[in-house]
Amino acid sequence: MSTIIKAENLGINFSISKSRGSFKVFLKQLFKKKDNKMFWALRNVSFEIQKGEILGVVGANGSGKSTLLRIIGGIYKADEGQIIVNGTPSALLSLGTGFRPELSGLENILLNGIMLGFTESDVRAQMDNIIDFSELDRFIHEPVKNYSSGMKARLGFSIAAYLNKEIMLIDEVLGVGDRSFKRKSQKKMTELIEDKSKTVIIVSHNLDSIREYATKVLWIDKSKFMMLDEPDKVIEAYIKTQ
């Protein structure tokens, strides 16, 4: 087995006072003045994931789960500690991010795929699968602004289901749409998650699905590392504090 992600004492801080659009902030940065009004969104978090493993991340709202996903995805750089990611992560963060409302569903599939780091021919090769799965039929040629929110979610999910890389970051999206599509998308998700060539990190409040999928669970609370162990043990301990 090869290590895909190795995080050691990961920490990231955000400033409370700092906000964009302020001249004062600019001057402070220019003179490298240390900002003392910091809070750590994540601190002292360590874990290791092997290829094919599924890491579930649990914790109350605002505990730093999504921040952790963003660090793994390369969007935030850690301020403390280090993280090694062997492979390309693809974020399934919020489905439909980057959709252009004036463009058709078809054009949005292409643009979204390229944003996710695929080449145009990669996307075109999966185009029929994506359109079929989304069940949008002729609506695929309509501008996305005319879609219902369910249709948008279906399109977003279908793109994510067929265009993903070896490391999948899943933030609360295990099934979307109406009843029948929800069942179908959950089935597809299970298929993807259980694919041994993929390494998966799932953030969810749904403890049942975490228990079902995860091979290992990380619990963080108020930005701090709490526990990393077998799913049953961690979830049991986590439930007790709720």
Binding site: S15, R20, F26, G73, I75, Y76, G98, R100, E102, L103
Partner: protein, 261 residues
């Protein structure tokens, strides 16, 4: 320095995305208008017409070649104006995307530069017949044109990269720039001839205002059939400097930008 090279490498790797973003922006910009892409040609023509009415008709100045001289400078100005003002808010308007996928931030201002460059290039469709109508001197000096366009690309890129980060730190910049850029245009030799500047101030004027060299060069190459203005060297050097500074600023502010948009 290593981070700077990494950013440049990242931009190159994301060239497909840049191309698609430009194409998408172009398509969505004119979608829903009756005349569509024709506006790319009509917009600068109408703007020129407004100034021609003002200068030639109201003030009775400018001379017979005024429309073509103005147009040669105006299209370059519009390229700069659109890129730089659109770059001010580019990270904020792409905030959700930036917090979802890992891309070099500079691709967003670069997209804006290329988008307005496309509009600039489209302006040559009306420009070429106008050169004949207004009796421009066309000779081998016309071959300087690609060099001028390249120099302007570098300069516009530099300013747009810098503005993209500056817009994050100073929210008021958008309002201030509307005013400053208008003044800058009047300060540049587009509505008037460079000979209006007194001889003894010429050198200072050319050094202070990079657009003076650019506008003069466009007029020389397109209309008068002469070589570009010698201050273009300075213009190009400033462009390279601004581009490097802009990239460096983006790289060093990346963490702040991503956390605070």
């Amino acid at each position: 320095m290593g981070k700077l090279l990494e950013e440049i490498k990242g931009i190159y790797q994301k060239r497909d995305l840049i191309r698609h973003l430009v194409f998408t922006d172009l398509k969505t910009h004119y979608k829903g208008t009756f005349l569509g892409f024709l506006w790319m040609i009509l917009d600068p023509l109408f703007m020129m017409l407004v100034y021609v009415v003002l200068v030639s008709v109201v003030f009775q100045r400018g001379g017979p070649q005024f429309p073509i001289l103005l147009f040669s400078a105006l299209i370059g100005w519009r390229w700069f104006l659109q890129s730089s003002t659109n770059s001010l808010r580019t990270y904020i308007s792409n905030g959700k995307l930036i917090q979802t996928i890992d891309v070099p931030l500079s691709i967003f201002p670069i997209t804006k530069v290329l988008l307005s460059m496309t509009t600039f290039l489209a302006s040559f469709v009306p420009l070429i017949p106008m050169l004949f109508v207004f009796d421009a001197t066309i000779n081998l000096n016309f071959l300087w044109l690609p060099v001028l366009i390249f120099a302007q690309l570098i300069f516009v890129l530099g300013i747009s990269l810098i503005f993209s980060v500056a817009g994050i730190y100073f929210s008021d910049l958008n309002n201030i720039m509307q005013f400053v850029l208008k003044l800058w245009f009047y300060f540049s030799p587009a509505l008037y001839n460079i000979s209006a500047i007194p001889e003894k101030y010429y050198h200072y004027y050319m050094v202070i205002n990079p657009f003076a060299a650019l506008f003069e060069s466009y007029k020389n190459v397109l209309v008068y059939g002469t070589a570009p203005n010698e201050y273009m060297i300075l213009f190009l050097a400033e462009g390279v400097l601004f581009t490097l500074l802009g990239l460096k600023w983006i790289v060093s502010s990346r963490s702040f930008i991503v956390k605070n948009i």
